[in-house]
């Protein structure tokens, strides 16, 4: 399929979580498609790489209402064998819990909203990159698993 989703990295002006720094945050939009691929930065693939994250950025996963097939997002351990894990993500409703200090991604929640992480959904789910984010975070679609995979990576600093 050659329908291209336009680049949707949008600066949202959110403050970086890193203490003492003030860097404009970007939103990185990953869109699920009926071809069972992820679309990101105008590219579609069954294995996408979001390789330009900064602490404080937002990763937004979109599942458009018009899609025929259901999708969702969950992080994985690559194994082998591959297993799903919720450890990297502080989900809605988990604030103040043990993952508060370790989570590398934090679900952006309206007050009282239920988590969409690890479930199929339609619409949008936002994950904030915390200052704990260091190593690559692989993920897949909760429904289509190995056929829709990806990895989140921090941007490699430009040498001075």
């Amino acid at each position: 399929m050659k329908n291209r989703i336009s680049i949707l990295c949008v600066g949202v002006g959110a403050l970086a979580l890193s203490a003492g720094t003030s860097v404009a945050a970007d939103t990185h939009v990953i869109v699920a498609t009926d071809d069972l691929q992820w679309s990101y930065n105008g590219q579609k693939s069954q294995l996408i790489t979001v390789g330009d994250l900064k602490k404080g950025d937002i990763v937004e996963i979109q599942v458009p209402d018009k899609l025929t097939f259901a999708h969702g997002f969950i992080t994985i351990n690559t194994g082998p064998p591959i297993t799903t894990t919720e450890d990297p993500v502080l989900k809605c409703g988990e604030a103040g819990g043990p993952k508060e200090k370790t989570a590398v991604l934090k679900e952006d929640c309206a007050p009282g909203a239920a988590s969409q992480f690890g479930l199929t959904f339609k619409g949008s789910m936002k994950l904030i990159v915390t200052d704990k984010f260091k190593n690559d975070v692989p993920f897949w679609c909760v429904k289509h698993k190995g056929i829709m995979r990806g990895v989140l990576k921090l941007q490699i600093p430009t040498p001075r």
Partner: protein, 750 residues
């Protein structure tokens, strides 16, 4: 479905030699050629593999037919070829292990049925299986361990169960028959006779293979098969061995010598094609091959250690999740090196998955000098696909697989009688993907060139990156081409189907046979009626087509949870050309998504009234709606599926058809299935060189549908044999068992 990678055989080596003395085919199938073990560098090689016994008029006359095989001369001058199949839970021998499985006649080497067009094949099926708890079959009584028989997978033959006859009573190729085991035979039926006539000489409507002009063909010659089709437990029963091969035509029927011409444009043969064909057949060794796999546990010995052992059958282990290791012994420990996987692999020392040819693990097949090997192979695995290739050992040169037929049909469209010798070269391929249920005939020559002994490994390359399940690389057999001092100039051709126009005589004969067949008022009604659950058929006047979408997860109205389900839609295409997804679906003609459980009454019967099911109306005089239907197969799951429909052959739709006739923008519609991958989703005839009449159009009865893709196929419901009630489904049987199947009803006046 079989997929191939193309290499033209015109590059084959040029050779010359006088023909060998003839040897009769009967001597070959009687087992005169032995498959003996050879010294190899591999750790262990199995001993002589036996072929399954053949039930045919020839073996019956020769006294070599298996027990339970009988031949009866029919009034039409043809034979009734009958086998007895007793489904039983008994110990059988598989690759050095004694294992108790659900099987036929207490034997893994189930009988091969060989019958001619015009013959009738008959099976008496008796169910004496032990009760067995099953993971599948949510709507059935699993403790009864019921069974049935898809007696003619690949045949364009009648199920004999058209409305208003109860679907389960039809005695043709009818998978709605429901036989409980003999726990209480006084109450429930545990045996049944299936009797299936094979359309004879020029008796089959040629429009089923899209011949628009010629009229009639014989049933295609090739390899088909029979197997249990009990929804919910078919994966278990087929894995246990409840399957066998069924050949239409003699074993060498599709071995044909090419017509040698002075130039490509010439139609005059410089050679005697009939004589060369006889010569080629005389030096052809036939190797029927049941390609099977089975999972075992509680092993008493390692799979690679010679001798006898015991194991338990583990029919619930049916998955190869992504990145799962499956190892084999390197002499000291379990190694992930696939070179050591000689017909097996293990995830741990106590379990194994065996991959066998005729129940033999890694057999050695010898081909003597001046002889050729015809491998007639059926992938009768429940769930595993095989991407077959030959890899050379030592000094042997690369060797490709020359394909004579796929899925029971010689590639191409039917030829007119005066074109019967049109040179249509058999094509060779570096690998052939045999999805579960697919069959192939491939030819390996040892009569063309002078050479020393050559060794090849027949192996599956493994199939990966296809979604949530994948299949391992396994070495399946060793093929030895013995030192040869003969040469031959004869080339191999495709034995193309020949069609004939309906002469007055044939028409009258056909009309007469139909009168006799449909003489009863009940059958007349059956031609003209359908059940109340019929969804309307396509309207060819507005180029409607059908979309079939596979989903995962569902709960039926009855509350059954299934893993998979199917949605069918009728699409009304409009201009301008657009993504298939954006074409308009007739909401009133949509069925599902539903699993098969939604139709299953739980007692062996099907609800034909509610919910609605797919119906095809054959009426050439008025609607012509059954002819050349486009079906768009769409996979919305993360797993590869394998579409199959009964009583039917289909081909890939062409780009031109999709764009011009259905306003489908092909390039934006195929989804994740875009060349160059292992799969094809449509036939891009625009890029093919050659005469479309003789181009290698492949006919299939199964086809893989990769995750996230659309596959476009064209199928024709034109023959009276297709009238009745049957199914379409995923032929990865663990998927079919968990919902991925749908009923279909064909009615009308062909």
């Amino acid at each position: 479905m079989i997929l191939v990678r193309t290499v033209d055989s015109s590059t084959r080596r040029d050779t010359r030699t006088p023909p060998r003395p003839q040897k009769t085919f009967s001597s070959l199938i009687a087992g005169s050629w032995l498959l003996t073990s050879v010294l190899t560098s591999q750790p262990v090689a199995a001993a002589e593999p036996g072929m399954p016994p053949v039930c045919s008029a020839a073996t019956f006359a020769a006294g070599t037919a298996p027990a339970g095989c009988s031949i009866t001369l029919l009034a039409n001058g043809h034979n009734d070829v009958k086998i007895n199949l007793t489904a039983e839970t008994k110990p059988i021998e598989i690759a050095g292990y004694t294992v108790t499985t659900d099987n036929y006649n207490g034997d893994y080497l189930t009988p091969i049925v060989e019958a001619q067009p015009g013959d009738t094949v008959e099976a008496n099926i008796v169910n004496t299986l032990r009760p067995r708890p099953h993971d599948g079959m949510p709507a059935g009584e699993h403790d009864w361990n019921p069974t049935n028989l898809h007696f003619f997978h690949g045949g364009i033959v009648t199920p004999r169960n058209a409305w208003p006859k109860p679907a389960e009573e039809g005695n043709g190729d009818n998978i709605y028959v429901y036989l409980r085991s003999d726990k209480d035979p006084k109450v429930t039926k545990n045996n049944f006779d299936l009797t299936v006539p094979i359309p004879g000489a020029y008796e089959l409507d040629a429009r089923v293979l899209e011949d628009e002009e010629a009229g009639f063909i014989s049933h295609p010659l090739g390899l088909n098969w029979y197997h249990s089709h009990m929804h919910g437990i078919s994966s278990t029963q087929v894995m246990g061995g409840m399957s066998g091969l069924l050949s239409v035509g003699d074993a060498t029927a599709n071995v044909k010598a090419a017509c040698k011409t002075a130039s490509p444009s010439s139609s005059k043969c410089l050679n005697d094609v009939a004589k060369d064909t006889d010569d080629l057949k005389s030096k052809t060794k036939v190797y029927y091959a049941l390609l099977r796999d089975i999972s075992l546990k509680t092993l008493s010995k390692r799979p690679d250690v010679p001798g006898s052992g015991t194991a338990e059958w583990d029919p619930t282990t049916v998955d190869f999740p992504q990145d799962t290791r499956c190892s084999a012994w390197d002499g000291k420990s379990l190694s992930d090196n696939p070179a050591f996987r000689l017909g097996f692999c293990q995830r741990d020392p106590g379990t194994a998955w065996l991959f066998t040819l005729n129940g033999q693990r890694y057999p050695t097949i010898h081909v003597k000098k001046g002889e050729n090997l015809l491998v007639r192979m059926g992938n009768v695995s429940s769930n595993v696909g095989y991407d077959l290739e030959l890899t050379e050992k030592g000094n042997a040169p690369p060797l490709q697989l020359t394909v004579l037929s796929l899925d029971g049909v010689v590639p191409g469209r039917p030829l007119a009688p005066d074109q019967a010798n049109t040179p249509v070269a058999a094509l060779s391929y570096p690998d052939i993907l045999l999805m579960p249920a697919s069959r192939a005939e491939f030819y390996i020559r040892n009569d063309e060139t002078v050479h020393e002994e050559w060794h090849y490994v027949l192996r599956t390359r493994g199939i990966r990156d296809i979604g949530n399940d994948e299949w391992p690389e396994i070495q399946l057999a060793e093929i030895v081409l013995e030192k040869n001092d003969k040469t031959s100039e004869v080339k191999v051709a495709l034995n193309s189907l020949v069609a004939k126009p309906p002469s007055i005589f044939v028409s009258m004969q056909r009309f007469g046979s139909r009168l006799a067949e449909f003489a009863t008022p009940r059958f007349l009604a059956a031609e003209e009626e359908h059940s109340s659950g019929c969804m309307r058929d396509l309207n060819p006047g507005s180029n409607e087509y059908r979309r079939v979408t596979f989903f995962d997860d569902s709960v039926t109205p009855q509350g059954f949870t299934a893993d998979w389900n199917i949605k069918t839609e009728i699409i009304q295409p409009t201009s301008p050309r657009k993504n298939e997804n954006d074409q308009t679906s007739d909401a009133a003609a949509t069925i599902g998504p539903l699993p098969f459980e939604a139709y299953d009454n739980g007692d062996g019967t099907i609800n034909w009234n509610n919910p609605k099911h797919v119906c095809i109306h054959i009426d050439h005089a008025s609607v012509n709606g059954g002819h050349k239907q486009l079906w768009v197969l769409r996979n919305g799951t993360g797993t590869l599926h394998n579409f199959h429909i009964h009583q039917m052959k289909f081909r890939l739709a062409t780009r031109k058809e999709l764009e011009d006739q259905y306003n489908i923008d092909v390039d934006t519609s195929v989804g994740s299935c875009s060349p160059p991958t292992l799969y094809k989703c449509f036939d891009d005839l625009n890029t093919r060189v050659g005469d479309p009449k003789t181009a290698p159009i492949f006919w299939h009865d199964t086809i893989p549908v990769p995750p996230g893709s659309r596959v476009f196929v064209v199928m024709s419901f034109d023959a009276k044999e297709q009238i009745g009630r049957f199914v379409f489904h995923c032929h990865i049987l663990k998927h079919e068992d968990k919902g991925l199947m749908a009923p279909i009803e064909v009615w009308g006046k062909p």
